[in-house]
């Protein structure tokens, strides 16, 4: 599904955020991207979502190199992805329903289809009763769930999440992770960046570990003593 071939990213100020990164995520796989703060996790996700472009290397999405895709085609790639951030980026002027409906409106779905899909997505994250609320009246955990509903409403093949539980307490974080597992179980590929090792080591998924811009492990869980040296 996603394959990085020798990807490097140097920011304009000369900082090398990613160095010769190789990894792949299979179709229907779920994995965690981890590493210390500043390791390059967000940078890696931004490259997949084409929010930023790599300096070198290839990013294969379903076998197509998207590293040098023209800006005009970027929206087409984004519509195949659900993107979730630590801040859910909800629009305060719109109801929960309208927020979640946005990707469908962009893709030109019919009115009835939009209603059906939005309610299905809200039901999955347990917020069906709050569809007429505005984001400001929701708790942090609920807002994050609205963000997730918006990311999955278009039935994307890939979910990318950057520190989705960063603002939440452990209990809510576990709930959010459980949601991602549910989506993965129906075949969605999921890549979650998180430095919350306590949370992600409880779950049995592959860990991709970045250290100062290098992919130091793409296999199994890292050893406990290495974790402590990283943190």
């Amino acid at each position: 599904m996603i394959e990085f071939e020798n990807i490097s990213k140097r920011y304009e100020n000369g900082y090398d955020a990613l160095k010769h990164v190789n990894f792949s995520l299979k179709k229907g796989e779920m994995a965690f991207l981890t590493g210390h703060s500043g390791a390059g996790k967000s940078t890696l996700l931004k490259l997949i979502a084409l929010i930023d472009r790599p300096t070198n290397g290839k990013i294969l999405l379903n076998g197509h190199n998207i590293a040098k895709l023209s800006n005009r085609k970027v929206p087409l790639v984004r519509r195949q992805m659900g993107i979730i951030f630590q801040n859910p980026y909800l629009l305060d002027d719109y109801t929960i329903f309208e927020n979640v409906a946005m990707p469908l409106m962009i893709a030109g779905y019919r009115h009835q289809e939009i209603g059906r899909r939005v309610r299905a997505a809200l039901a999955k994250v347990g917020l069906l009763k709050k569809e007429k609320f505005y984001p400001q009246s929701l708790s942090g955990g609920e807002q994050q769930r609205v963000g997730i509903a918006r990311a999955v409403v278009n039935k994307p093949a890939i979910l990318l999440a950057d520190e989705p539980t960063g603002n939440l307490d452990p209990e809510l974080s576990a709930e959010i992770m459980a949601l991602f597992e549910q989506f993965n179980q129906v075949g969605v590929s999921v890549l979650i960046a998180s430095h919350d090792l306590a949370l992600i080591t409880q779950l049995n998924y592959r860990l991709l570990t970045l250290h100062q811009g290098c992919m130091v492990s793409t296999g199994v869980k890292i050893k406990t003593n290495y974790e402590t040296t990283v943190e």
Binding site: R78, M81, I106, A107, N154
Partner: protein, 312 residues
């Protein structure tokens, strides 16, 4: 992937649907931020009202000069002792000319009594033992021959006639008025044009502030896969609405102002013994102003939104 390809098949129905969505989104935003919408339209209206008012005034100067020259008259003084028959022949001959629309004959007796009435020296004048006034033909030039230069030519022709002693054309004040009016006209037009340019900037800036609310929205829309044109379109409609509302409001302001001014102008026109009336704008100008306003709104929105989209 299938659905994405169909997006590029820009069939008419798809286009229409997209524009309908864009219009609804644009209107929805205006309704959501109603106070900001009203404020923005008002600012645009105030900015547009002044140049529109000036253009209306320039237009009225044109009307006014037409009305004023319509009152121009040429007085032809005949030589003393010209016989009644000669006068009749002359009048007949002159009224056949296309430059002349009306001739009024004022006999010496009539002239004296009119003079006496207007001046009020009745007793003194009646005391004179002979009438010093000549016979006068008061000539009204036809509408097509009202320009000062044309009047002067006509006056010169009349002066050539054997029975004519003198011709008086009250040209000086007409000339002076024309000169003053043409200066006023140029200055006003110049100010209107300068204000017009200023309006482009102000309208653009106003729309820029109105659209800044939406920086986050643009960012989110981009992230969830909206194309630039899809993001831009509703804002362009927003700009069009602002431009249109603003212009309609501006013309309303100008209309109210003109109507309230027209009473004063009517009084002034009376003193010039013309029945001049203030003109507003015709239907074609109305449409032209609307289109101009829409174009301004569209331009302002385009520049602003394109910049916003690039920044995200």
């Amino acid at each position: 992937m299938k659905r994405n390809h169909s997006l590029y098949q820009s069939t008419l129905s798809l286009l229409l649907k997209r524009h309908r969505t864009a219009i609804l989104m644009g209107l929805g935003r205006l309704k959501k931020h109603l106070s900001s919408t009203i404020f923005t339209s008002l600012v645009i209206a105030m900015t547009l009202a002044l140049p529109i008012l000036l253009l209306v005034l320039v237009n009225n100067v044109d009307y006014a000069t037409k009305g004023l020259t319509a009152s121009a008259k040429i007085s032809v003084y005949l030589k003393p002792g010209t016989s009644e028959q000669t006068i009749q022949d002359l009048m007949h001959e002159l009224s056949a000319q296309e430059q002349i629309i009306k001739i009024r004959y004022i006999s010496p007796e009539q002239g004296l009594s009119e003079f006496a009435k207007s001046v009020g020296f009745k007793q003194v004048l009646l005391g004179l033992n002979h009438n010093p006034l000549p016979a006068v033909l008061e000539i009204s030039p036809s509408i097509a021959y009202q320009q000062p230069a044309q009047l002067q030519i006509l006056a010169a022709q009349l002066r050539q006639l054997p029975a004519v002693d003198d011709v008086q054309l009250d040209m000086d004040w007409i000339k002076r008025l024309f000169a003053i009016l043409s200066v006023i006209k140029s200055v006003t037009l110049g100010i209107a044009i300068i204000l017009g340019f200023g309006t482009v900037i102000i309208v653009g800036n106003t729309i820029k502030y109105a659209i800044q609310h939406y920086q986050k929205e643009i960012q989110v829309l981009k992230l969830i896969g909206a194309s630039d044109s899809l993001i831009r379109r509703p804002f362009l409609y927003t700009g069009v609405f602002y431009g249109l509302f603003g212009t309609l409001l501006a013309m309303f302001i100008v209309g109210v102002f003109t109507v309230s001014l027209s009473r004063v102008v009517n009084n002034l026109a009376d003193t010039f013994s013309t029945n001049f009336q203030l003109h507003l704008f015709g239907f074609s100008s109305f449409v032209a102003f609307c289109l101009l306003g829409i174009a301004l709104g569209l331009l302002g929105a385009w520049i602003t939104v394109s910049r916003s989209i690039k920044q995200c």
